[in-house]
């Protein structure tokens, strides 16, 4: 199959269609607009529905209803819109409804801007909404992976009956890269005997609910969720490594920034500095297992993020004090420059007592 040139936003849309998603509910926001434009055209071609809601609050609750009805369904947004969806995400987690939410992150806080950012890491990986819950969070770093990750996102959502967030940023949504669409698409959507489709369509009465007023019953649900999250954490941690062989300075970066870090690592290696890169592909569960195993061989870690230092907390937990962990970040929609990342690596290599 020959490759075609696609924008990241379009690749997410096509990936969703190829994953069997037939329902999209959303509200306009930059920089994810092309995703909605793409699906507004594409979904009717495959008998699906694109519905523009009156707000992100309504969008996520339409997702909740469609998921309760057993459909593969998604929404997408950015920054402020994702903030408005937090109540709904908590409900999706509490009611265990499989669904996929895409966040093309932009500069914040507040209205911020429409430039790329990774400042919603905490919101996605640590909760965001109320209550004890986790979303599975996936962070692709190429347009090809943005396409491919959608199938994985829907499969994980169905497998664990859990909301899944796909995180990228404004640049990744806008940038074009060649994409291989692959061969024939065969999607197997598992049967959903729990879905509220009407009693004529399943055994007994189905209820979708997260309201358990008796604390003993609510704790039981919490324990069930905790068990599920532990299983996900054990089975689904994914990361990529780049030039990690013999590395004593290990960069940790996800999404767009990991691409910049690959260049910085190459340049550092050319200068004789043993640098390498770990790229978390799943932000939750965080690949703490793999990172932890590198701690004894690593002199120092450097997380590079488009935020004030959010993922660094998870790297520190994984390293558990066995090596120093530093952070380099650009903020407010600014993208790290390869030269600046390289300078940070050189500082660490040269002893870096002053940090």
């Amino acid at each position: 199959m020959s490759k075609i040139l696609m924008k990241g936003n379009e690749a997410i849309g096509e990936g969703a269609v190829r994953a069997g998603c037939r329902y999209f509910f959303g509200y306009p926001i930059t920089p994810q607009s092309e995703l909605t434009h793409y699906l507004a055209k594409r979904l009717p071609e495959v008998g699906g529905l694109f519905l523009q809601a009156e707000s992100e609050v309504a969008s996520i609750n339409m997702v909740y209803g469609a998921a309760a009805a057993g459909a593969r369904v998604m929404t997408s947004s950015s920054g402020p819109g994702i903030s408005l969806m937090q109540e709904g995400l908590s409900f999706l987690a509490g009611s265990e409804l499989p669904s996929v939410v895409v966040n093309l992150m932009r500069g914040g806080p507040g209205l911020g801007n429409i430039a790329p950012s990774q400042s919603d890491y905490f919101q996605a990986a640590k909760g965001g909404g109320h209550g004890d819950y986790h979303m599975i969070v996936l962070a692709p770093n190429t347009v090809q992976e943005m396409l491919d990750t959608m199938g994985n996102a829907f499969d994980l959502a169905d497998k664990y009956r859990n909301p899944v967030m796909v995180m990228a940023d404004g640049v990744m949504g806008q940038m074009m890269e060649p994409v291989d669409l692959g061969g024939d698409v065969r999607v197997e959507i598992p049967p959903k005997s729990w879905a509220t489709t009407g009693m004529a369509h399943h055994a007994g009465k189905n209820v979708i609910n997260s309201c358990l007023v008796i604390p003993e019953e609510m704790e039981e649900l919490n324990l069930k969720l905790e068990k599920k999250y532990k299983e996900i954490s054990q089975k689904e941690q994914v990361c990529d490594e780049y030039m990690l062989e013999g590395a004593d300075i290990v960069l940790v970066a996800f999404g767009l920034v990991s691409r910049i870090c690959m260049s910085a690592v190459e340049k550092a290696r050319a200068m004789g500095i043993k640098a390498g890169l770990i790229r978390p592909v799943t932000l939750w569960p965080f690949p703490a297992g793999f990172i932890g195993k590198t701690a004894d061989k690593t002199r120092a870690y450097l997380t590079v993020e488009m935020n004030m230092g959010q993922m660094i907390e998870d790297v520190k937990l994984a390293v558990c004090g066995r090596a120093p962990v530093y952070h380099y970040g650009r903020l407010g929609g600014m993208v790290p420059d390869v030269r600046d990342v390289l300078a940070e690596i050189k500082n660490l290599h040269e002893g870096d007592a002053g940090r």
Partner: protein
């Protein structure tokens, strides 16, 4: 002997948690009777609100979804768009529908969403302990309007049926009450019509049911019925505000 009265099949044989004199139970029963009579128990999906009716999922004997506060019309939209041949309804109180959920029910009506909203207006927040609702009458004392609702501070009670009437997507809009046998018979007719409008694919339907809340009104059940008649009905006139053209249902 011939059995002439029994519990609707769509209602479970469990005691309601509602306070004495509360008319939620009457409204539940009417919805269940209509669902039985239309023969749709196996193809209906209900959406419960946040508020006193949060436990409707335990009372109705068909598939139920618990929605976030105010969001039931959006949730119902998601269900109906995936399952257009099912009957989907919401059951919401005045705080749920007419305050926090104003955007959701209005835009469901704007879209002509083929769902039915059963809207319980008892002029007060019940579950949280008697605070001012968007439908609380001027001068009415609640826990958060201890001196009576003052229009200078809190504005005016919201008239949901009147708001919906000009919207093209709203196919059937009616306001009824459940404070007397006569009113209850009329309420049931309106609920049935609202579901028929949905089944016939005509658009959005909503039935506002004026209800009592003796506990939070600080009245006896009998006084509450009288208060509804004398205070709520003059401000919220009963009737069909929007009906489909003759002959379509």
């Amino acid at each position: 002997m011939k059995k002439v009265f029994s519990r609707p099949r769509s209602l479970k044989d469990v005691p309601f948690h509602y306070c004495p004199g509360c008319t939620h139970g009457v409204a539940h029963r009417l919805v269940a009777e209509v669902i039985d009579e239309l023969g749709i128990q196996d193809n209906v999906i209900g959406n419960a609100p946040v508020g006193c009716a949060v436990f409707t999922m335990d009372y109705f004997d068909f598939d139920m979804i618990s929605a976030a506060h105010g969001r039931a019309p959006a949730v119902a939209t998601g269900v109906k768009r995936v399952l257009p041949d099912r009957v989907v309804f919401t059951y919401q109180g005045d705080g749920d529908l007419a305050a926090i959920g104003t955007g959701e029910f209005v835009h469901a009506a704007v879209r002509g969403e083929k769902i039915t909203c059963i809207f319980i207006n008892n002029a007060v927040y019940g579950m949280t302990g008697g605070q001012m609702a968007p439908t609380t009458l001027l001068g009415q004392k609640t826990k958060t309007t201890p001196y009576g609702r003052d229009s200078e501070v809190n504005g005016y009670p919201i008239k949901v049926c009147e708001m919906l009437t000009p919207l093209d997507g709203a196919a059937y809009v009616a306001r009824v009450a459940v404070h007397s046998p006569k009113a209850i018979i009329q309420a049931k007719k309106a609920i049935k019509k609202a579901f028929q409008v949905q089944i016939n694919g005509l658009g959005f339907s909503l039935v506002e049911i004026l209800s009592t809340c003796p506990t939070n009104w600080g009245l006896t059940p009998l006084e509450a019925v009288k208060w509804l008649d004398e205070n709520m009905i003059p401000y919220f006139p009963l009737g069909e505000y929007k009906v489909p053209p003759a002959g379509v249902i």
